[in-house]
């Protein structure tokens, strides 16, 4: 395959600073050296490349948009570009970084005590400790407010009971940010690996995000020290603010997967000979490629604008919903169309297509399903919530 240069049809690069571009190039080079050569094997074998965790930390990919406590302190556009390049490698690698940075480090950074920050953030930033985020339960996905997991105040400790499901990094994690009800109100707790009564069995049999670890978290009478409560937040706003950060990264990340598929489809169409010429000469194939370029270009402008608004501090969460649902939706459809253009070859691990396509099915659902984001926009437009 010829060298990958991304797609920049509308010169969105002109809207980036030299440093932002240099950061994207650095992440891209790292992904080409460290992720692309090994990821297909991990996907097939259903394993996460754990040795990349520390490297990602060293490179400054983890908690990239947080400052202090050993965090890289980059702006949000840089964080987005990191997600974009990581997801061009594989959604599992981007998911790892999203969970670690936006779902674990962010709440500790924003809502944690000074001791919690000192204890966890530097190690999480370096990738020496791994975190996971437990919100979803077997019976409560799109409706987390119904969660059953609960903590009881037992004077000198909290007693935690319940179960979480679909938790990225769960089995690998040294610390879990777990959302549970305390006197009927959602609170965040730091549950540590090895605590008695806490287990995190891996879920197997996935057809998507196979290079990512997904787990259950089971709590049976876990005695949590009082200082393991996140003191700075109460209510569902806590987990939702985390998700909002992670979704922002996904809006960029999906573009990486989409661009990877577009690139592969274009190269393939130009080199695949049928009816005595490259299939790229057929109008039907060109229509598909032109559509991909169109959607990627629109998605890039959405992501860029979103990033600048986030850096200015003017971002509304509905705007994140629109970008997450749009960019994941087009990425998934681009992956499917790219699969079609690759013909039978599209189902082989030799090309990244089917892997991206299967991964994006999860990305479409997690961090708020596509339709939940539709409902968020519906509520913004009409003022009438359709989902509470």
């Amino acid at each position: 395959m010829s060298s990958y240069e991304g797609v920049d049809f509308y010169r969105v690069d002109d809207l980036l600073s030299d440093e932002e571009k240099a950061i994207r190039e650095a992440v891209r080079a790292w992904v080409e050296d460290r992720v692309l050569p090994i990821i297909e094997r991990h996907y097939q074998e259903g394993t996460f490349p754990t040795d990349l965790a520390r490297e990602m930390g060293e490179m400054g990919f983890l908690g990239a948009n947080l400052s202090g406590y050993g965090c890289p302190g980059l702006n949000n556009v840089c964080y987005g570009l990191i997600c974009q390049e990581l997801e061009r490698g594989d959604s599992a690698i981007r998911s790892f970084a999203s969970v670690q940075g936006s779902l674990v480090m962010f709440p500790i950074h924003a809502y944690g005590s000074e001791e919690q920050k000192q204890r966890w953030l530097p190690r999480l930033a370096r990738g020496e400790a791994i975190g996971c985020f437990g919100l979803t339960e077997p019976d409560f996905g799109s409706n987390p407010s119904g969660m059953i997991t609960k903590a009881e105040d037992r004077g000198d400790h909290y007693l935690l009971n319940g179960a979480k499901m679909w938790i990225t990094n769960g089995t690998l994690a040294d610390v879990a940010v777990v959302w549970a009800k305390l006197d009927g109100v959602v609170h965040g707790f730091l549950v540590e690996e090895g605590m008695e009564g806490f287990s995190a069995p891996e879920m197997t049999g996935k057809h998507s995000l196979r290079a990512s670890v997904t787990s259950e978290l089971v709590f049976s009478d876990v005695r949590l020290p009082k200082e393991n409560l996140l003191p700075g937040i109460r209510g569902l706003r806590g987990p939702l603010s985390c998700l909002n950060n992670a979704r922002y990264g996904i809006a960029w990340g999906a573009l990486g997967a989409a661009t990877g598929c577009f690139h592969s489809a274009t190269e393939y169409a130009k080199s695949r000979i049928q009816f005595d010429g490259p299939i790229a000469r057929f109008q039907l194939v060109q229509d598909k490629l032109a559509w991909m370029l169109r959607e990627i270009t629109k998605g890039q402008l959405l992501a860029w604008r979103l990033g600048r608004m986030k850096d200015e501090g003017t971002l509304q969460h509905e705007q994140v919903s629109l970008a997450k649902m749009n960019n994941v939706d087009i990425a998934l459809r681009i992956a499917r169309t790219a699969r079609d253009i690759h013909g039978a070859n599209g189902i082989l691990g030799e090309y990244p297509i089917m892997r991206h396509m299967a991964n994006l099915e999860s990305v479409y659902t997690y961090e708020g399903t596509h339709d939940i984001h539709n409902l968020v926009l519906g509520r913004w437009i009409t003022g009438i919530p359709a989902f509470t």
């Binding site: 240069e5 030299d18 440093e19 240099a22 950061i23 650095a26 490179m59 990919f61 990239a64």
Partner: protein
């Protein structure tokens, strides 16, 4: 110790070079990078600084607007402290000797006593500038180095000879080293370092500032034309069942290609 690096911003390894329409210059499509051999030089300079302390400075000849972001992103971000860019209209058509003169003066002005270069840039395959710099400065030069150590004012270097033989040489500073593949493994730029590289000093010098006249860098060799290699003749596809194909292939290899 003050350590210098000479680095050229050039076409990426997989960029396609092609003569311009009038044949007077060459163009490339794709992105520009600091050449891969120069990156070994950068890494060695940074490692030497990490071991022995000191300052590192990268030198290049080129238009600041073309080279600065590459120098920041791939040289300063790796730990080099400063960049000196020699830019002058008189250097636009300079030959290797002109470039070497400009770099030698800049190196002298910085008071550097150890310089690392790539063994060559990867565009024009000229392989002249480092040796000329060493000659102009009256320094020792060791080329195609695969291992290097400095101790006080003396150095030891291992260089690659024909047939895989290794030659170990030693001498005293100042010295100019050219880096061969295998000297080290260049590190990745860490993202926070890329942001910090923005604040590192970069200095632009013209020929006057270096005490050179335009005549001093006037080319002694000028390019009259660039030409493309001849198109490769297209291959032959032999059709038929295996026996026919093999027989025909053997016949062609023997009679047409004359390799059997």
């Amino acid at each position: 110790m003050k350590i210098g690096i000479c680095a050229k911003v050039t076409a990426d390894t997989d960029a396609r070079l092609s003569p311009s329409a009038d044949g007077g210059s060459f163009e490339f499509s794709g992105k520009s990078v600091v050449g891969p051999y120069d990156m070994f030089a950068v890494e060695e300079a940074v490692q030497t600084k990490e071991k022995h302390g000191g300052d590192t400075v990268v030198f290049t000849v080129g238009a600041e607007s073309d080279v600065l972001s590459q120098l920041r992103g791939s040289v300063l971000a790796l730990g080099v402290d400063k960049a000196v860019i020699v830019e002058d209209p008189a250097l636009a058509n300079a030959d290797a000797l002109g470039v070497a003169r400009a770099l030698a003066k800049a190196i002298e002005a910085e008071g550097v006593d150890l310089v690392f270069c790539g063994k060559q840039a990867i565009d024009d395959d000229n392989v002249q500038v480092p040796a000329m710099i060493a000659g102009l400065l009256g320094w020792a030069q060791v080329s195609r180095v695969t291992a290097f150590a400095v101790d006080g004012t003396s150095f030891t270097a291992t260089r690659a000879m024909d047939g895989g033989i290794k030659q170990v040489v030693s001498g005293n500073l100042p010295v100019l080293i050219t880096a061969e593949r295998g000297l080290n493994t260049p590190r990745y730029a860490k993202l926070p370092a890329i942001m910090k590289a923005k604040k590192k000093p970069t200095e632009r010098r013209d020929l006057a500032a270096l005490g050179l006249s335009a005549e001093a860098v006037a080319p002694k060799v000028s390019t009259s034309a660039y030409g493309s290699p001849p198109e490769r003749p297209s291959g032959k596809i032999i059709e038929g069942d295996t026996d026919t194909v093999v027989a025909e292939l053997v016949r062609l290899l023997r009679e047409e290609a004359k390799v059997l």
